[in-house]
Structures are given as C-alpha cells and as structure tokens.
C-alpha cells in the first residue's frame, strides 16, 4: 500500500504549474525505495515532454542516458526497427500451448478459458509475455561476483529460461483470472470483442475458472522455489483486488482525485507487469539495481498503457471524441482525460457527480472534454511514463551481446507501440 503513496503529489503539482511542472514521485516499499524527480516543459512548448532527471535515493544509478529519452519526439528512428513480437514468436507460441494444456487438461468444463489466452488478433494479449521474454534476454548480463555464464554451461541457461517462461505463464494466468472475476463483478457481456466467458458459461464457472487459474499460478510459483518471487507475485493478486475495490467503492472526492486515480491504476494495471518484470530479473540472480530497473520499466509501461487505454475509450481509432466505446463513463468510471478537464472546467464535476445514466449528461461531459486539453494532457502523461520506461532500459548495465541489445531495443520500441496503438 505504501507504494501507492508515490503518486500522491501528482495532482497537486500538476495543478500547481500550468507551464512547467516538477514532479516528486516518492515511494517507500519493502522492495523499492526511491525518489523520482523530473521537470517537464509546458505542453505548449516545442518539445512536448522532456525528461530532465530521474534520481533514485537508494543505491540506484541516476538514469542519465538521453539517447532514447526523446524518442517520441522524432519521427525517424535511428536504430533498425524490429517487430518486438516476432523476436519471441516461437516462445510465445510454446507458452500459449503450455497454458492451454495446463488449463484444459484436468477440467474439461473449464476448457473454454483457454480461448482467452493469446487470442489471435488481440494485441493486448501478447503484450505481457512478449515483454517478459524480451526482459529475460535484456537482463542476461554478467552478475558482479558470479562466474561467467559460459562456465555455468548451457543447461543452466536453458533451465533459467524455462523458469522465466514460467513467470510469463503465471502472469497470464493471473491476468486472465482477474479478467474472469472482473467480468463477474461488472456483469460485462463482452470484453474487447471477445465473447465474455460469463455469457458463454455463466457466472458460476467464470468465478471457478478464475480460482482454478489462481491456484495453478500459485502451484507453478511454488515450483520455482524462490520465496521472494512467490511473495512478489502473490502480492499482485492483492493489488488487483485493492485496485478493483478502490474503483468500486470510491467516494465522489476520490473519484475526482488524480492521486486516487493513479494509485488505482497502478494496482489494477501496472502492478502485475512491474512485479513480473522484477521477478524475471530476480530469477536471473540479478542485482537489486537491475531488478528495480526491470520493475520501473514494467510499472511505467503499464501506466502508459492504461492512460492510452483511457484516451482510446473516448476516441477509438479516430482522433474524434465519442468514437470510442465510452465504456468507462457508462460504468461511472472517471479516468484521466476527465480529471484533467475538470482542472480547467471545475463545473464538470457536478456533471460527473450526477452520473451518466442519461445520455444528455454524457453529451455535456464530452463537450467539456472537447473544449479542454484533457485528452492531450493524458497523452502527455502517458508519454512521460513511456519515456521513463525507456530510460530504465537505457540504464541497465552495458552489454555488447547482440541478442541482449536487440531485446533492449525491442523493449524500448514497445514503449512507442503502447503509445501509438489504436486498440
């Protein structure tokens, strides 16, 4: 819970300056303890967002690389661009099959759960395992004080890779379990165009399927025999619950608070990928510094992903408002674009408080949003987090290994893909 306090100053500081802003993201937690400090220029300036500095308070190197920090500014990419997904395509397919087998084997009635995994054409479904497999290679650098990898032999490397693949599988199982339980909770009939398990098999089996996945994830975690990793990942389930509870039970003040929103977003979206990125590094026996950078990458990418999701809910694939599914406001969920708009037009709050049960209120709220810079500022915040994610990768210990460099480049490319995606 302490971690979430890290977001506590965002809203205040964003409000405190309209042309430029200094952020303090202070976080204390059992596993990470750092201070993020950076400035950004006015969104009206020629360079929309520039990361100035990122200072960790405890044993972390300053993220001083600027090579890719402004990569979103440039339309021409210096490095060869690779499709991040194709780099790990074979492994992704292997993991998808293992997941299907794990779920389908013993409980045939729950076999349709497997359809949730790696559904073709649903980009989001491949994001997490792709990130985790790329991260596995990206942190494959010598550990100070350990013998070189080649002395350990290929078997150990293969074994490590297999354990890291397990993290990708466990992450997908937890993710799908949370989708299943969220479907029950929200009574949603469809999710991103895929027929909801709820409507196919009923609430009862959806809850049980989620429980089954959670227990399989727990058994798979236990078999990794790394207590730190088990605790780290098990805690994610608690975060998912906390985030969902925060969303369900918020007061009007909480719903209209950027701090509360970012805390909830971390729990609901960023905790899983950040913790599993860290787990990848921990399994590799990496240093605390490398593990924290892996965590930072996942956290910031997760936050950027969700912020763009919030924008797409309003705009869909076009740039026009109202073209998205508007599923958030239809469920009374207030996201970043509205929160920013409310800073410009405080009268929007009354509309939000009235709710969106009637379409007149929806139209009115969209009018305010259109007049405001809410969408633009949300994109800027997403870009900031995407840049922080890229900066974390740039701060990893240098490596001359071509595979390592390729994977790191792909991880950085993913920060742009998150930003430019249309679904």
């Amino acid at each position: 819970m302490l971690f979430s306090r890290g977001f506590s100053r965002i809203a205040r500081n964003l409000r405190g300056s309209s042309n430029g802003c200094r952020w303090f993201l202070y976080s204390r937690d059992q596993n990470h303890h750092f201070l993020l400090l950076h400035n950004y220029q006015s969104p009206r300036g020629s360079t929309d967002t520039v990361l100035r500095s990122l200072i960790f308070s405890k044993a972390l190197p300053a993220l001083h690389s600027t090579r890719r920090q402004v990569h979103h500014q440039s339309s021409s990419i210096v490095e060869d661009q690779l499709d991040p997904f194709s780099l790990v395509a074979d492994e992704l397919s292997h993991i998808a099959h293992r997941l299907q087998a794990m779920v389908a084997a013993e409980v045939p009635k729950l076999a349709s759960v497997a359809e949730y995994f790696f559904k073709m054409g649903v980009e989001g479904k491949r994001f997490r395992p792709t990130i985790l497999l790329l991260m596995s290679t990206a942190v494959n650098v010598p550990i100070p004080g350990s013998p070189p990898t080649n002395e350990l032999g290929g078997t150990l490397t293969t074994k490590l890779r297999s354990r890291q693949q397990s993290i990708a599988e466990i992450t997908e199982m937890i993710h799908v379990a949370s989708l299943l339980h969220d479907d029950v909770l929200d009574d949603a009939d469809t999710r991103r165009g895929i027929g909801s398990l709820n409507s196919i098999m009923g609430n009862k089996l959806a809850v049980l399927a989620g429980d089954l996945l959670l227990s399989r994830a727990c058994v798979a975690l236990a078999s990794l025999k790394n207590t730190e990793v088990v605790s780290l990942i098990a805690k994610v389930v608690e975060h998912l619950v906390t985030g969902e509870t925060m969303q369900m039970t918020s007061t009007s003040d909480q719903r209209c608070s950027m701090e509360y929103y970012m805390e909830k977003t971390y729990y609901k979206t960023a905790s899983l990928i950040s913790s599993s990125c860290k787990a990848i590094a921990l399994l590799a026996g990496q240093t605390a510094e490398v593990s924290t950078l892996a965590f930072e990458y996942g956290k910031n990418l997760g936050l950027a992903y969700q912020l763009i999701d919030d924008v797409l809910d309003f705009t869909g694939t076009s740039a026009s408002l109202g073209k998205g599914s508007l599923s958030d406001i239809s469920q009374g969920i207030v996201t970043a674009p509205f929160l920013f708009a409310m800073e410009e037009f405080p009268q929007l709050r009354a509309v939000v408080d009235e709710g969106f049960d009637n379409s007149a209120n929806v139209d009115l709220a969209l009018e305010y949003l259109e007049k405001s810079r809410g969408i633009q500022r949300t994109k800027e915040l997403a870009m900031k987090h995407a840049n922080l994610a890229a900066a974390a990768i740039d701060s990893l210990p240098e490596s001359n290994d071509e595979e390592v460099r390729k994977s790191r480049r792909a991880l950085v490319d993913l920060t742009r893909i998150v930003f430019t995606r249309t679904k």
Copy 2:
C-alpha cells in the same frame, strides 16, 4: 486427481454385500500411495462397525492398535475426557485476532469478512484450527536421526509453533475464501444462520474478499519457505474448485453415483483439512510415515464430518426426517442418504432425476428415504471414517510426553464429537 480414484470401489463393494463388506480404497498420488483394506460387519450385528485392518502398501506401519478403534461402540470412555477446544483456547483466540487484523487492516471495506472467522457459537468454525493446533503437539515426537528437541533450544520450538499456527490461519483463510465464492455461486442468502456476506455487501465484494484471502494465504504460505507445503496447500484451492465444478456440472449418472459423491466430498471438504494436517507434520520435519498418518486423520475426519452434515440436513437436531434445512435437495444436490436409499429403492432415481422444484417430489423422496436404511448406512459410513481417523492417531510413534498424549487423546475425542454433533 488420481487420489480421488481411491473411492472408486466403494459403491460397487457396498452394493456387493448387504451383510458385510470388504473395502478396497486404493490410492495413488504424488504424495501418498497406499492401500486401505478393511472389513466391516453387518450394521445389523451387535458391533455396528469394527475396523479390522488397515494396510499401507508403502513403508507405512500397519495400523494395528485397537485400543480406540472401537471407541464408538462404548458409552464409557476409558481415558479422562478433555474438551479438545479448551486445550488450545488461548492459541485459538490469538489466531482469531491475527486473522481479523490481517483482513481488516488494509482494506476496511472488506472488514466484515472478519466476522466469518471464529464466529462465536458456530462450532464448525473452530474445528479446523483446533485440529491443526492439536496435531502440532501430537506430532511433536523425536525424528529419527535428528538431535533431541532440547538440544535445538526453546526458540526453535517457539518458531516451529508459530509456523504451525500460520498453517491454521492459512487454512481458515482458504476456507472462508471458498465460502465467499460458494455464496456467490449458489446465490445463498444465509449460511448456517450467519448473514451471508453476499447479502450484506453484494456479490462483487464477496468475490473480491475471497480473492484477497486467497492472495493473503499465498503470501503467508510463501513466507513459510517450504516448497512442499506451498504446493500441497495451493493444490487444495484447485481441489475446492474441482469439487464445486463436479457438483455443478454433473450428469444424472454422476449425481447418482456413490463413487462420484465420495470423490466430490473429498475435494470439497476433506482435502483442505487433510493437506493442512500433513503440512503441520512436514513443517515439524517429520517422517513420510507420520506425515501420511496426519493426512489420513484429516481426510477421514473430513469425510466423516461431511457425511454427518448430510444426515443433519435431513434430520436437524432431532432424529426425525424433514426436520433439517433440506438445503441440499432444494439445490438438487444428492447426498449419501439418498444414494444408499436408491440402492434399496431404485425407483427413487426417477424422482431424483425429476428434481425437487415441487414439494410433492420432495415429500415422495423423503418417504423413500424413511423406508430405507439410507440415514443409518450414512452414519455407519461416517463412523467408519471416524474410526479410521482415530486409528491414524493411534499409529503415530509412541510418546511418553504428557502433552503429546493429551493432544492425541483430544484428536481422537474429536472423531466422536464430529459424530455426535447436532449442528
């Protein structure tokens, strides 16, 4: 899953003999591999149920003690009778407070979950932790090849006890999580006279509260740093899901099969207590033999408990049929009394298949049950399992330690309390 096959011959053999029966409970599993073989005399005989022999096929001593194997036959108890609950009352209260703190601390909205724990006057709620604390003392015997306990010092003993208390807490968390999710599933408004969390806080929070408990249980498990124990207990969650799925999705043939019923009962009721009993022994560093005896105690006590539950659903506190809540048949769940009755009156099957939506069918089914020996035979089966549980305790390595003996006596007494309870 393989374990459940152990029950596969019950129905056939029970049908095969009306005056006496030989059981073969054969079980193969990653953790246990044994053969139970025993005879019982006709229920019409002067001694209702006598355990003849129990032979383990793999490195397990035969359970040859008969001292308490017939304790249900005798109205006079040889040993001093102690209240099993009072033996561990202080620790129970300590655990209850810790559980409340664990649940209430970080998510106030879910605080009412805590009311489920150790609800005063609900005997069942104290059963599991009482068993586990008593088992902790009962298996506190020297381990061959290890230094005597006093050489290890009191701190280690205290630490072990604290870890065993954790198992009791984890077990309660998993149990309550399954109640919460079952409440969602069955849409039950009340459960044993306690207001259902469902009706108090809604389905959404009940699912989340269950997930929270599962994740807390997983974190607590991980902190025990014993991979075998983590896998063992995590597997229980899968068993609970499997049992519930079996109950929900059964065909008519499955619903009317004693084998299927016993398999489901193991998963839904006996797996949790048997696995946690075994975990207690594993944490103590006990031998495979002792761990398996602990498992056998829990398994047989759990099965006996559920069989008596099934009887009480028809009779309540009186001996008369129809005085119970009849909640099982009202949900279309066919339990042991009906399954035995169906062997005598095959025409009952048609009534069962028609369902119990109208009260005429309920009355007709109860008439058949009253004419049959279904209730009596269910009690006999429960007694058999209670005796097997007591026999497992009697087969533990001998100890002259008064505390150990007292706890074992209390565990055996619990097998009688399970049998004579009225709620």
